[in-house]
Amino acid sequence: MKKVSFSRKHLGIPYALFLIAFVVFPLLLIVFYAFTDANGHITFMNFINFFKSNANLTALFISLGLALCTTIICILLAYPVAYFLAKSSASKSSVLLLLFILPMWINFVLRTAAMKELLFAIGFIQNNKLSFLNTIIGMVYDYLPFAILPIYTVLSKMDKNLVEASKDLGASPIKAFFDVTVPLSKPGIISAITMIFLPTMTSYVISDTLGNGNITIIGKLIENQFSSVFNWNMGSAIALILLVFIFATMTFSGKFTDKEEINARGSGLW
């Protein structure tokens, strides 16, 4: 009888099966739906209809605007925090880091609801002009830890001698920061961007809760097509359009860093 030899690579089989069943197959299904009509005939009408509709285009631009603002604000807020965490002593920084990460452990629907109450109390929710701002506040609040973590990881691993070398060669502390610390923390910033920019385009729970009905983002559009309008073909087409945008952002942010650098520092989460 032939003996079945078991090697390490066979451990990957369960995941490969999972991947086929829940990632590859659904993706093919989406592509199929996107390019067919209700009767199963191949068509491009879904895409044409999307770009013909003003409401859809508005949602797309609002999504992009929200994602952009949230990402920029998150990074601007997270960088100083991560910087001082990385500089403080090991025991102190782990406690502080925990404080910043702790909100992530509370259900984010709950957190968003709490934020709504807070904004309601100060009269922000009622004001329709502030819907966009309210959504951004909620998103920044939810996604800030995703910016702190990767930047902190990169900064805390950075060789302190590099900043010293820069100062040694005549750079002022500020110059050394922008010449050495910032460029070398790029992989962390890129991870932060990918971890915030993409989810903010789709997580409609926040915009639904805080937008007072004025903010429709692309994720909400997809949800509507599937659960209210029951037009799966249109929904799939929008999902594909989003996929293209995500791909574009990834290639764009990838241009700022070379792959080797990300891999070497273990911070390339995407």
Binding site: N161, A165, K167, D168, L169, A171, P183
Partner: protein, 497 residues
């Protein structure tokens, strides 16, 4: 020659641990000075204080007579070559080297058309930078590497770039923090020679930090030997090697035979149970350390030298043989190009000039302690049985434990402060399981020919016990200590004053 750097009264501690202790040191212009010592001796901290990365807790750093103690590193005309190179990974070789030059600003004054004197700040032009970078690359033998990034270079090449990056700024002092530590032996030897040549060519003052004694001896004009934040000796390599000031320096710089000896007369010292002539002047009856370098031990046929012994090991070391002789209980290491066979009976002799005498650092341990109710003495984290009657000559103890003096006076010694003296030989080392009230860690072990001199540090109050033992203990070994009651010498503290 004029002093370029002057450190006076520098102390620095981290988290309550004193790393540099009241250091005074000056460096002359153009010198190649090496700070040498084991890890944790404060040499790197000293360097970092000169670079400006650390501020001393007390003391003054002067450069060319100007106080620069609180000047940040970017304002000091000093550049550093870091231990792990610290090349900027996101810049190529050219950009790394040009980094300092691009930041350089210099003031020039000229008279304008109206006759006013104008001062303006200038940068180096692109062309000037190009020329300087090229020159620096040539200096370190890396022409044509401008476009390479640091991660594509070997360790040795990275090191050269780091050196080029520092010297291109023409600093007044170049600081080198164990720059060759990460290189392999052959590369290290090459770089040693190249650095020495660079020093000659550039005329810049070099301050070099290393724990490698051979490196220090090869390269330096002056060596500063440090231990526990304190300078042990400053001198030329020859001085340090031939005339070590204490047994730490002798042990650290090269191999040496260290014996305990006693001065027995004018220029005569007794060790190994023999009297040897020597050249140094010491007081009679002084206990000393005798240092003999292995290459100064001359091996002769039996009975022809000063002391007979048996060869117990012989190892070929390339140029010479390293042989160990046993003389009674003592061992002595000798180096010679002529091999003596193991088991052969030989005789050795040493010329008087090659016998180096050093004052013994410790002859007794001295502590301040107090007497307890039970007539034991407490000092240095331990409680010991002792004979308290020695405090009052001719006194005795009564049944209740009071001391009755010769005159019949009854004295209660409880809580009386005393000075305790214990001879190095009288502290016994036991294994920790054997139980003793004092347990400590061996912090230093120096071989002295027929015994080891240990320093055992207690855990809580960090009291040091210095002792001689025949047995081998390594650093960081945990040991228990015991002292026989009759070996503890007590004196009343008031009397001492």
């Amino acid at each position: 020659m004029e002093k370029i750097i002057n450190l006076s009264g520098i102390s620095k501690s981290y988290d309550g641990t004193l790393v540099v202790d009241n250091l005074n040191l000056y460096i002359r212009k153009g010198e190649f000075v090496t700070l040498l010592g084991p890890s944790g001796c404060g040499k790197t901290t000293t360097l970092r204080m000169i670079a400006g990365f650390e501020m001393p807790d007390s003391g003054v750093v002067e450069l060319n007579g100007k106080n620069i103690t609180n000047l940040p590193p970017n304002k000091r005309p000093i550049n550093t070559v870091f231990q792990r190179y610290a090349l900027f990974p996101h810049l190529n070789v050219y950009e790394n080297i040009a980094y300092g030059l691009k930041l350089k600003r210099f003031k020039s004054t000229y008279v304008d058309k109206k006759g006013n004197i104008v001062t303006k700040t200038d940068k180096l032009t692109k062309k000037e930078i190009d020329v300087k970078v090229e020159k620096a690359l040539k200096m370190v033998d890396l022409e044509g590497f401008e476009k390479r990034t640091p991660d594509t270079l070997s360790g040795g090449q990275q090191q050269r770039v780091a050196i080029a990056r520092a010297i291109v700024n023409e600093p007044q002092i170049l600081l080198l923090d164990e720059p060759l530590g990460a290189l392999d032996l052959k590369m290290r030897k090459e770089m040693q020679i190249e650095l020495k040549e660079m020093h000659k060519k550039l005329g810049i003052t070099f301050l070099y930090v290393t724990h490698d004694q051979e490196e220090a001896l090869t390269m330096s004009d002056t060596i500063v030997v440090m231990k526990d934040g304190i300078i042990q000796q400053i001198g030329t390599p020859e001085d340090i090697y031939n005339e070590p000031k204490n047994s730490f320096v002798a042990d650290f710089i090269g191999e040496s035979n260290i014996f305990s000896g006693t001065i027995v007369g004018d220029k005569k010292v007794r060790f190994l149970n023999k009297i040897f002539n020597m050249v140094d002047d010491f007081e009679k009856n002084e206990l000393v350390d005798v240092v003999i370098r292995p290459e100064d031990v001359e091996l002769l046929p039996k009975d022809e030298g000063q002391v007979n012994g048996v060869v117990i090991s012989s190892v070929f070391k390339g140029v010479h043989y390293e042989m160990t002789l046993k003389i009674g209980k003592t061992e002595i290491i000798a180096q010679s190009t002529i091999e003596k066979k193991v088991g052969e009976e030989v005789s050795f002799s040493v010329t008087p000039e090659n016998i180096h005498i050093m004052k013994k650092e410790f002859t007794t341990n001295k502590y301040v302690g107090y007497i307890t109710k039970r007539n034991t003495v407490v000092f240095a984290e331990g409680e010991y049985e002792c004979n308290v009657t020695q405090l009052y000559p001719g006194s005795t103890l009564d049944e209740e434990g009071y001391v009755i003096t010769k005159e019949g006076e009854k004295i209660d010694l409880t809580d009386v402060d005393v000075i305790v003296e214990v001879n190095l030989k009288d502290i016994e080392v036991l294994d920790t399981e054997e139980g003793s009230n004092v347990i400590g860690t061996v912090v230093s072990s120096i071989y002295k020919g027929d015994h080891y001199q240990l320093i055992v540090r207690t855990d809580e109050e960090e009291e040091d016990y210095v002792l001689d033992t025949e047995y081998t203990y390594g650093e960081n070994d945990r040991v228990a200590l015991a002292i026989a009651p009759d070996k503890i010498k007590l004196k009343l503290k008031a009397v001492e004053k």
